[in-house]
């Protein structure tokens, strides 16, 4: 049998009901699904029957990486966590969360491509995976502890190089809005309570092995350097956000914020990021400072450095130091995070005493970040905070809570933007203490149901950004028109897809983007300027298909879809082209299994189609177009009444969106009427058995 590189070779299965573990050969069973979400969906399809609930012992939770995790490939730090999603409403369906950090690589070094957690322990436990030694350990002394202390306690046992993925009290208490976290700040939202339902507090991994490169080692080294040369800043923004001597273009919206005069002010001594000229690969890490990007220029003075995942030079988790918060709030003066992790506390509030640029908002970020990351609370891409604001300011909270509970919160602090309010709210969410905390912890879909608020009301409010099934939009029509809309239809939570938006926001002028788009998706019409959308075009459907396939590919290979794909670059001499074949080149050399771009994309399509099959099976209907691929009303509205396709509106046109669905389904070979893959589509994806099973359930179109 051919021996491949890349994969560690084993999938670890741990049955918490019996305490026993066993292994399977990864390549034998899962090579056709690569790893990551591919393995996750395959396990869910084969082993978790329709009708299983997220917290049932019969549900499984799969931590899976791909053949590129733990190699030298840039941006290889992500692990996919697949399970039945407890916040998916009205019925939990399969979904995935993704952690960066160092868990993915360490798992490979320990000898595994995946851990499949089955059953339920009869008391709290944690799982120790140290190279080939797997132990289910008593976790009762850790139950009730925060993620920070749990991580420290397990690290004391396994050693400082171990990586610990732990849940906090929120996950233990089966709060659906809970996460699992490793490496201080790298979390996968939504999966915490599934671990809690299994009495699994944490997984510690320690590996001393390595990942074998199956192909030519020199070629691998060259390929890694080539990949590095195409990197931009975070989200693959390829132009700086202010003029720099080397740059032909700049855009104030990009995350390439490093430049002369901007320094990590809390480093000792301060370190100037300098001119991050793109050919200087040793300065890639200076380009991104997400604290400054999200929190404003004031964050530079608190920045210590960038931090991030294994194998990634981007360092998007900015480390900040704010001594004042230690004495004021009793939290660590150090913190690190990115995106919604940084904003977690801030976005609860409408205003702050000294305005948005005041110091209080930085303090609020520190407080929110520390509390959420220790209690293990998930924000659902900010939906928790948006819901909270709307519920409070529109009187729902006062109406639904008893007087005693309502008065137990310091609403005056909340309205003033006092961060200490978060000490009242967040621990109660984690502990399910009181009606408000219980409702917020359910996630939007079940919260609305509990409080008898119609989902349609939420779907009308543009500012809420609520999309469907309990989850918000994630880069939809507001910035990528029909392509973004289509991507947001496909998943059972927010899609977490960045393939499309990384291109749209890369900072290049529109005409350069259109030129690249024509090369990648066949026509310049694939992309529009933000807010200047044009009617649906087949190239937009191709871009949408490409986007979701690359997302699944990244999630299965263990590349970061928050960074890739890399089809644009900062290199003028390349006409700002990236390389659409990077993934297949990395896969081929790492594993020794030579696949070209189209061949690897077909594997990605298999994974994506299997996700669709799981959704159809578990929903018990093939009517995806009518019952799953739904768009909120706000997407078809404009506050000032602008018509679709006029400049200055993100309003979509109903008929045009139906055309978009037709074109998208056509691209995938799916049935237009139902939006379900046909038997032929399953067979082409190499999943004839899936078609047979769905046919048996009368879930095939036609």
């Amino acid at each position: 049998m051919k021996t491949y590189g890349g994969w560690a070779g084993k999938v670890l299965r741990v049955d918490l009901s019996t305490g026993r573990s066993r292994t399977e050969e990864t390549v034998d069973k899962y090579k056709d699904y690569l790893g990551g979400t591919g393995i996750g969906y395959k396990v869910m399809w084969d082993e978790v029957p329709a009708g299983t609930k997220p917290h049932d012992p019969g549900n499984k939770i799969i931590f899976a990486v791909g053949p590129l995790a733990g190699t030298g490939a840039p941006c290889n730090g992500r692990i996919a966590i697949t399970t039945l999603w407890p916040t998916c409403a009205p019925k939990p369906l399969v979904a995935t969360g993704h952690m960066g950090g160092h868990f993915a690589a360490e798992l490979k070094y320990a000898g595994y491509d995946a851990i499949v957690i089955e059953g339920k322990a009869d008391h709290p436990v944690w799982l120790s995976v140290a190279d080939g030694k797997v132990e289910v350990k008593d976790g009762r002394h850790l139950w009730g502890e925060g993620i920070r202390r749990t991580t420290a306690a397990i690290s004391q046992i396994m050693g400082p190089e171990a990586v610990v993925a732990a849940i906090g009290p929120a996950g233990e208490n089966l709060v659906p809005m809970s996460n699992v976290m490793n490496s201080i700040s790298h979390s996968a939202g939504g999966a915490g309570s599934v671990m809690g339902s299994k009495n699994l507090k944490a997984i510690g991994v320690r590996g001393t092995g390595s990942v074998r490169i199956g192909g030519n080692k020199d070629e691998w080294e060259k390929l890694v350097k080539y990949h590095l040369s195409l990197l931009g800043a975070n989200n693959q923004h390829v132009v700086p956000n202010a003029p720099q001597p080397w740059a032909e273009f700049w855009s104030p919206g990009t995350r390439w914020v490093g430049s002369k005069g901007r320094a990590w002010g809390a480093a000792a001594p301060p370190i100037e990021t300098g001119t991050c000229e793109p050919h200087n690969l040793n300065r890639i890490a200076y380009r991104t400072n997400n604290a400054a990007f999200y929190l404003g220029d004031a964050a530079w003075q608190y920045t210590v450095r960038g931090n991030g995942c294994t194998g990634c030079p981007i360092r998007c988790h900015t480390m900040v130091k704010m001594p004042a918060v230690a004495s004021k709030y009793g939290i660590s003066e150090m913190g690190q995070n990115t995106c919604m992790g940084l904003l977690f506390g801030w976005v609860f509030f409408k205003s702050f005493p000294a305005g948005l640029d005041g110091r209080a908002n930085m303090e609020t970020c520190m407080v929110g970040m520390h509390l959420a990351d220790d209690l293990g609370i998930w924000c659902n891409y900010g939906q928790l905070q948006r819901d909270f604001q709307k519920l409070y300011y529109e009187g729902h909270i006062k109406a639904k809570l008893g007087e005693k509970e309502f008065k137990s919160y310091s609403w005056d602090k909340y309205e003033k933007g006092d961060p200490s309010f978060l000490f009242e709210l967040l621990p109660r969410i984690a502990a399910k203490e009181g009606e408000l905390a219980c409702a917020l912890g359910l996630g939007t879909g079940y919260l609305l149901e509990r409080w008898s608020i119609s989902e349609a009301e939420w779907g009308k409010d543009h500012d809420l950004a609520y999309w469907k099934m309990g989850h918000p939009k994630h880069h939809s029509c507001e910035e990528v028109g029909q392509c973004g809309t289509l991507i947001n239809l496909m998943y059972n939570r927010d899609p977490q897809c960045h393939s499309h938006v990384n291109f749209i926001r890369n900072g290049l002028p529109l005409q350069v983007q259109k030129k690249l788009a024509a090369e990648i998706w066949g026509a310049p019409e694939a992309v529009d300027a933000i807010g200047a959308y044009t009617p649906m075009h087949p190239s937009k459907a191709r871009m949408a298909k490409w986007s979701v396939l690359r997302k699944e590919l990244h999630d299965s290979l263990s590349l970061c879809n928050w960074m890739g794909p890399w089809v644009a670059s900062p290199l003028k001499e390349r006409g700002y082209r990236g390389d659409d074949s990077l993934e297949s080149m990395l896969y081929s050399v790492a594993t020794g299994d030579k696949l070209d771009r189209q061949e690897l994309d077909r594997v990605a399509e298999r994974i994506f189609v299997l996700h669709r099959a799981l959704t159809i099976r578990d929903m018990g209907t093939k009517e995806m177009r009518a019952r799953h691929d739904l768009i909120p009303e706000w997407a078809f509205e404009d506050e000032s009444g602008k018509a679709p396709f006029t400049k200055g509106t993100t309003r979509m046109d109903r008929k045009d969106v139906e055309t978009a669905k037709d074109m998208f389904y056509d691209e995938l070979g799916w049935d237009r009427a139902t939006g379900a893959p046909t038997a032929e589509a399953y067979r082409k994806a190499g999943m004839g058995d899936v078609a047979i099973e769905l046919d048996r359930r009368n879930l095939l179109p036609g």
Partner: protein
């Protein structure tokens, strides 16, 4: 308004723009991994001076090159003006990376494309002139090319380095001048001021884009 009184090529401008710049023959804080002295064409002291200036993010004028070649001795450069001009013309023909730009007042400046883009050189050249024209040209260009409005506070950052007061006063002055009648302003929900050109952006579209740049993007991480 002291900045506006500066003339192109004056020592004041050089000092102001060159916060990191330690002198034309001094050491650079940063290198690109290629020796700043080397480039396409023959090794030449004048070429090296231009390349070093570009590495530091500066255009360098012919007069400044003369002074640097003379070792910075006051008055020494005057005797060599014709020689230097000839030498620069030769270099421009021999070194692919060396470029010349000419200001409205006829003064020639130089840069190396090894470390400076044409766009940035043009920006530096514009900065040497009328600030109102500088702002207008950048606003028009951005409105047309990307397309996007330009936050007024951008001009307070390098390489513009105007004070906010200077920028606001300049923008206010532009409103009354016919040649800038296409330059309009829009404020976002955070009261941040953006400028755009009506030649390329409709008012409602410019407002939407400004709001997106200022608020929308970071609210959609």
């Amino acid at each position: 308004m002291k900045l506006f009184a500066l003339k192109a090529g004056s020592p004041g401008l050089l000092r102001r723009a060159g916060r990191e710049y330690k002198g034309l023959v001094g050491s650079m804080k940063e290198t690109r991994g290629t020796d700043a002295l080397e480039g396409p064409g023959p090794v030449d002291e004048a070429a090296a001076i231009i390349r070093r200036a570009s590495e530091a993010g500066l255009l360098i004028s012919e007069a400044e090159i003369r002074r640097a070649l003379a070792g910075g001795q006051p008055g020494a450069e005057a005797d060599r003006e014709a020689d230097v001009r000839t030498r620069l013309l030769t270099l421009l023909g021999e070194c692919d990376d060396l470029r010349e730009v000419v200001a409205d007042n006829g003064e020639r400046s130089y840069y190396s494309s090894l470390s400076m883009s044409e766009a940035y050189a043009a920006l530096l050249l514009r900065r040497q002139g009328d600030p109102a024209r500088l702002i207008a040209e950048i606003v028009r260009q951005d409105s047309e090319v990307y397309p996007r409005p330009v936050p007024l506070d951008m001009f307070t950052h390098p390489p513009f380095d105007f004070t906010l007061e200077e920028v606001v006063q300049t923008a206010a002055g532009m409103a009354a001048r016919e040649e800038y009648s296409d330059i309009e302003e829009t404020r976002t929900s955070t009261a941040r001021l953006f400028l755009y050109s009506t030649l390329y952006l409709e008012p409602a579209y410019a407002s939407m884009l400004a709001e997106w740049l200022d608020v929308g993007q970071s609210n959609n991480p």
